[in-house]
Amino acid sequence: MLSIRLAWRNLWRNKRRTLITLLALAVNTAVLITTFALMDGYIENAVRYATDLLTGEAQIHANEYLEDHSLYKTIDNPDEIIAKAKSHGINASPRVYGFGLLSVGNKSAGVMFEGVNPELDKQAFTLHEHLQGDGRFVSNKADKGMVLGKKLAKTLNVKIGSEIIAVVQAADGSLGTDIYTVSGILKTAGEKLDRSTAICHIDDFRELFVMENAVHEIALNSFRGVELEEIKPLLGTTIDGLEFKTWRQLNPSLSQMVDMSHVGMGIFATIFFIVAGLGVMNTMLMATYDRIREFGILKAIGTSPMAIIRDILVEAMMMSVIAICIGFVLGLATSYYLSIHGIDMSGVGGDVTFAGIAFDPIWKAVIHPASFIEPMAMMCVISVLASIYPAVIAARLKPVEAMNHV
């Protein structure tokens, strides 16, 4: 194709100028791709931490339980729901909650007791791995072991092995009290968990609160094996009359952050597109200006304005495709490196929390092809759009004046 050869050779007439623009476009693309990969990694990490640690992808409660955390608003059919979830590959962990007091010597603190089924909870969540030092999670058999939040342990001034006294008002109105042993202390896991959570075996909890078989919450987690929107339909009628909430509803601030970061990425990309577009426009304007005489001759011998526009657009397209390919390889390589090694944020500010949830201080990128294709295609389109202006200028030149141009 003559048009292609013409564009290709024209592209390299001013090697330095073309190379500089090419490099700028390539770096632009690479930075965009890397940024997107980091943002995706950040979001995914935040969501993973928010869901996998203990919240789950969704939770089921009795109607209005979340409003007052009343001891008496329990789920009637937990085993049926758990079995149904399991049959679809969704892990489910039943939990019970109750307020009370923990005290050691002359120190005491108000806490939220949380009873878990350790076997099921370990399948569904990673909280059991989120322990300091040589602490252990709650044993599978109820043994009055307790796991405390980091700040709570500090407030009570306890270590692993310390004995603590729990005092609660039981479901039957009586005063429930028992002695527990600290089996583990959580690492930083967000303000609420750090300050006021005490986790014990569900059977120990039921004994303390005098609540045979009670379940307040079933937390579900498929580790993203099941789409968020599909979880509810899969549970079918087992959750009739109960409240079903996804993590997006349970943690609206995180949900909003995720949405906002997508908007942020869009704005960021737009700025990059504008910069890239201006770069291409400038280069093509200069290239056009250098060739005014030639365009005059071409028009004089009968080249239509459209053909001239096409020639210039082909040239711009070539430049941007080359640049974007280079940028793609660069960006992919950087993203890949960052997806393996990540950026260590611990030096920047210690514990990293995001919407109330603590997470991994190593910030890793995630490579989602879908996140790149669009900006790359967009970059290509922008480059071509940006060269329309110079192309139109060239196409509208008056042949005689253009030919007399030196």
């Binding site: 001759i297 071409l298 004089a300 011998i301 009968g302 080249t303 304005p305």
Partner: protein, 235 residues
Amino acid sequence: MDKIININNVIKDYGQGDVIVHALRGITLSLECGEFTSMAGPSGSGKSTLLNIIGGLDKPTTGSVEVDGRDVVSMSMAQLSHLRRNRIGFIFQNYSLIPVLTAYENAEYILVLQGVSAKKRNERIMDILKEVGLDGMENRFPRELSGGQQQRVAIARAIAPEPALVLADEPTANVDSKTGGALMDLMRKLNEEKGITFLLSTHEKIVMERARRLFVLKDGLIEFDGSPKEGINIA
């Protein structure tokens, strides 16, 4: 024979207000198909202006211009572009080739726009390049050719689309007289073999004496129109 160019009382003024230049003051002229005509005249007499108007690159201030039976004055840009692409070949003074295209590609460019098939393009261009004496040089870029050779490429480019008319503005001005003579012989040969009408502007005797008809412009008017033998002394 049909008239390829028919000009009636063409006036061209440049500029406005006090600084009007009267480039053409009333030109009436016609060329038959197949003519080989040169146009002489001192610098500033309006030769380029007239060629540009005939080629539809410029509009006359008043007057009518018909080329190939069509009224050029009222044509749109797109129509003019089409007319030039298909019916008119242009040869300019110098450096009119596209530097990044080879001799072959320069000649090919318009044929591509005309939609001529690759095979036909190849046949036609190889023939023409041979005819203009550039056998074996088809892959050279303009910078690898002498001035005379470059003008041969320009001639090849002008006639490759098989136009009815070739307009040449001082085609030999930048080559030595021997080369100029050879270029003229070539154009004369193409005129005779293919029947393409040529209209050339010039300052040079070698061009005038090879034409079959000569007219001389002076201050935007035709001062002489006749045989080169008589006119050459006036020009």
